[in-house]
């Protein structure tokens, strides 16, 4: 069974600084998708960024970028120029090709210090 591990229950960063959230996963598949979701207190899960495993190039969305290391099964999220609105729970998720369900990690609570 696939598993996703987020080893940092909590992280904090100063506003305008850069922070990296870690995620590792376990799978025997070669083709899959990886995601980072943000969950603010409103509870709605918001897609931050996605990566297709067959693509070697790391995904980037404005201030958010990933470091995808397929051999190491690592998928970290870097947030640049952190803003107060970035404060939330962040979840890493995995989905194998051909399956619909997402497997989530346990989340990292990110605090932004003004």
């Amino acid at each position: 069974a696939q598993t996703v591990t987020q080893s940092q229950p909590e992280m904090s960063v100063q506003e305008a600084e850069t922070v990296t959230l870690s995620c590792t996963y376990d799978t025997s598949e070669s083709d899959y998708y990886l995601f980072w979701y943000k969950q603010p207190p409103s509870r709605q899960m918001i897609l931050v960024i996605r990566q297709e495993a067959y693509k070697q190039q790391n995904a980037t969305e404005n201030r958010f970028s990933v470091n995808f290391q397929k051999a190491a099964k690592s998928f970290s999220l870097k947030i640049s120029d952190s803003q107060l609105g970035d404060a939330a729970m962040y979840f890493c998720a995995y989905s194998r090709q051909g399956a619909q369900k997402l497997v989530f990690g346990q989340g990292t609570r990110l605090t932004i210090n003004p």
Partner: protein, 115 residues
């Protein structure tokens, strides 16, 4: 609608009662998903609908849980004989199709508390 709507937002019920949780997906989204998120945990998959049919219900924990989507739009998650361990946030999501191109759009969930 503009987003995925879930009602009620919060539900408190007594142990042993029956509850229904509703999900109204984005118009035109054929795929619909239910997840359960216990306190301090990531969401766990329950069931996936493609159209009216449940394509994958492998995440339903036991036969007290059941979900329907009779017309391929609104879905209802039904829990019989609720137990305190069922207390969680139940999240619904929808997507345009079964591909992962766009990711899912999640609702804000229903917080179920069984007392």
């Amino acid at each position: 609608g503009a987003g995925v709507s879930q009602t009620p937002s919060n539900k408190v019920t007594e142990k042993g009662k029956y509850v229904e949780l509703r999900c109204d997906p984005i118009s035109g989204h054929t795929a619909l998903y239910w997840y359960r998120q216990s306190l301090g945990q990531g969401p766990e998959f329950l069931i996936y609908f493609q159209g009216t049919g449940a394509a994958d219900d492998s995440g339903l924990p036991n036969d007290r849980f059941f979900a329907v989507r009779p017309e391929g739009s609104v879905s209802t998650l039904k829990i019989q004989r609720t137990e305190r361990g069922d207390s969680a946030v139940y999240l619904c999501a929808s997507s345009e199709d079964s591909s992962r191109r766009y990711g899912y759009t999640f609702g804000s969930g229903t917080r179920l508390t069984v007392v």
